[in-house]
Symmetry: C2
Subunit: 457 residues, 2 copies
């Protein structure tokens, strides 16, 4: 199957309209669950239950798990108890827990009534943990082995229990529920003698996370160690579940989107862009816009304070946007670089002196280069080409000197604020461009008018 | 082993100084390669070869593959031919290809001289493909099966050849080198009868990528389908390699960092922040700073054009920063949201009308809210508390009306430019905040002075 099938979505929608159900079944059986989910996203509400009933048994639960909550709710409301039981008990435990977490109370009641007792217990187990903790994203379906088992015993066990497990390739060796080792199917398959006990080939240096570990840290460990799964252990060292690499990829994507949204002065969104209503977007965007607008009162007050000076030298006003934008851009370059390095774990608070020194050097280089370029631009273009005779050498000097100082201040504010935020336990991403721009605006205007007053009046 | 071992790095550095080599060996054997790499990053140059020689044989190549290029070069220069041969031939093919790609010519010559002929051929194969293509990031070490093999034959084959493969869990079924199916070790282990031919249990609907597919697209497919590995196929449909999930995670991290850097008006960096010199940072940051500074000439010209009006109503100047910043913030909210949605594959060019409509609604909501808040702030705080009597009702109206129009323009420019860039084949991330701020500044000033002229003079 080709990798991009925008047209297959159209074909399916057409076949659905034409009620060619057998043909649809034949097509659906060849498709990956994720591609089927993409078709559901294009579907009108009334067609959703219809298409779902045409899915092959094996993929139905997998597709269901990936659907958006509103489609899930719609489907459940249309399910008979038997249908609901079939779907729910086919779900992986972590997906079932997500579902219970997202549905309204009356739907949850029906789901739990149809869930097998064991599944119900495990769903409740997972929902006990706080949001975004390893416990809340783990699944309780993993292969556990005892240390005295031989490799051949272990393989028999995997064959017997593996079909329900989210991964069989990494198996966990436990003794009295304590995690004591990890062994991969690769190690077992490649071992010379299948009568070797598991305890002899297992790796005892197990990397694990605690149930309360933040999901972002869990995801970082995946990109560091390249594991297929990480075991989750409670405070007593007892193994309670695993997080798998595909969940880690989802977490990384979600956390990165959240970081990017915060950096652009927005609250993190719950839904994808196309599924967000204008009201959702408004709610995410207005708080920072309003806060930053009000805080621009300071810049306004600074300008009002120098109103008489400005009235005498109106030419100074023309350079305010350039100084402010360059300050904002310089600051956000530094802050965004530092925020990204923090979230990739490349920087720690102890690196502050190194970071500040690096940014000072960089801002001197940038400041001198920009000031020189700016001086040339002002004298050659603004003064000579445009013939603006208000621009004296002193004015040009004032602007260019302010430019260099602004770049320095912007880069220092930009690199330090995120690190301080992190140290104080806030999210550094909030200290990105918009916030820093407001501070740098005020600082650069103070410098500008300060120098202007000293030199020009 | 605990998950965070900042102190173990210190212990190792101390033991190295004290020449306690046997203790070091005992510690190193319990450590994960990635954690050992973290120790190398803290090391002084002269200690690098020493610590490397203490590594257990099994992990040495894995650690070597993850080191920064400067440490790799240093080590190779110190290696005897025998040592070099051992390390190079232990590397996975894709890591060996990366190494050859990054080392200077004289080092490459030595590496290729020590590489086994088969490895040399495969390195050259991978290096033929353009940078960032699937061919350039794939590995040629995968398990291939023939369709007529039984499951038990297949397992024998995996046992015999698996030790060198990057993953054994997904096996590819080929016929005359053409990829015809995929089968997982899980399917084979869980099958009832191990005399079943592979062709009966394999999945014939294989999702694959072409050697020339861009790595970003490859990575997106991993987060969509949750595969352990994706097969790479040439234009003739012949299987040439696989990309594994851990490489996909690295690609996602790298591409996201690049996007974030571009959004903040920087050229993408080659090195991590702490390894970049001030000169590296300067080179990445100055082009956009300089370009944006020069383009602020337009805003300057607009202000100069209205100089006389401004001189008569200096009070207008005080609101320029607030209008500009709010415009910039509104625009970057829209552009960053759209850029992220584009890079996650949630948006396509055909969605332009939907996006524009959504942003119009959102900006009307934001614009009205901000204008109202702004009006209250100006009349209650600026005029009454601060007692600025220059602020008349007409001035307040001019500012607030401009505010609403600016938000609308900013959001429209912000959402459309990235989509147009994508359509034209440019990277949408370049159309982020700094670029849009410059455009929105000019537009908002034109509106501001336009309204002021109509209303105030």
């Amino acid at each position: 199957m080709a990798m991009h099938d925008v047209t297959i979505e159209k074909t399916i929608l057409t076949l659905l309209d034409e009620k060619k159900y057998q043909t649809l079944k034949d097509i659906l059986v060849t498709m990956e669950p994720s591609d089927i989910v993409a078709v559901f996203e294009e579907l009108k509400e009334e067609k959703v239950p219809l298409l779902f009933r045409l899915l092959p048994k094996e993929t139905a639960a997998e597709v269901f798990a990936e659907l958006e909550p509103d489609w899930q709710e719609l489907l459940i409301k249309g399910f008979s108890d038997t249908e609901l039981r079939e779907v729910v008990n086919e779900l992986y435990v972590d997906d079932a827990a997500d579902l219970v977490d997202e549905m309204p109370a009356n739907v949850v009641k029906r789901i739990l009534a149809q869930a097998a007792p064991e599944l119900r217990k495990e769903i409740n187990e997972i929902l006990r943990y706080p949001e975004n903790s390893a416990g809340s994203v783990m699944t309780t379906e993993y292969v556990s082995l005892r240390p005295e088992m031989t490799i051949s015993d272990a393989i028999v066990r995997i064959r017997r229990t593996g079909v329900d497990k989210e991964t069989i390739y990494t198996c966990y060796v436990t003794e009295a529920r304590k995690l004591i080792g990890v062994v991969s199917v690769k190690d077992m398959l490649l071992a010379q003698d299948d009568q070797t006990p598991v305890s002899q080939i297992m790796d005892e240096n197990v990397i694990y996370v605690n149930t309360m570990t933040d999901q972002e840290e869990v995801a970082q460990m995946f990109s560091k160690y390249n594991f297929l799964a990480l075991p989750v252990v409670d405070n007593g060292g007892r193994m309670v579940g695993i997080v798998t690499f595909d969940d880690a990829m989802d977490i990384i994507e979600e956390e990165t989107t959240e970081d990017i949204e915060k950096m652009a002065g927005m609250l993190p969104s719950e839904k994808t862009y196309l599924r967000s209503s204008a009201l959702d977007l408004f709610r995410n965007r207005i708080p920072w816009l309003a806060l930053l607008m009000v805080s621009a009162t300071f810049t306004g007050m600074i300008i009002t304070g120098f109103e008489n000076a400005l009235a005498a030298q109106v030419v100074l006003t023309a350079f305010i946007p350039m100084l402010m934008d360059t300050g904002g851009n310089s600051g956000s370059q530094a802050s965004v670089t530092v925020i990204r390095a923090l979230s990739l774990g490349e920087l720690e608070f102890s690196d502050v002196p190194k970071v500040i020194w690096k940014e000072i050097q960089t801002s001197v280089l940038c400041g001198v280069a920009l000031a020189t370029l700016c001086f040339a631009k002002i004298m050659l273009f603004d003064r000579m080409v445009l013939g603006n005779t208000d621009i004296t050498l002193t004015v040009a000097f004032t602007v260019c000197f302010t430019m260099a100082v602004t770049v320095l201040m912007a880069k220092l504010v930009g690199c330090t604020l995120p690190m301080i935020a992190k140290k104080l336990g806030f999210d550094p991403a909030v200290m990105a461009s918009p916030f820093i721009t407001t501070i740098v605006d005020a600082l650069s205007l103070l410098v500008y008018f300060g120098i202007a007053r000293a030199v020009l009046f």
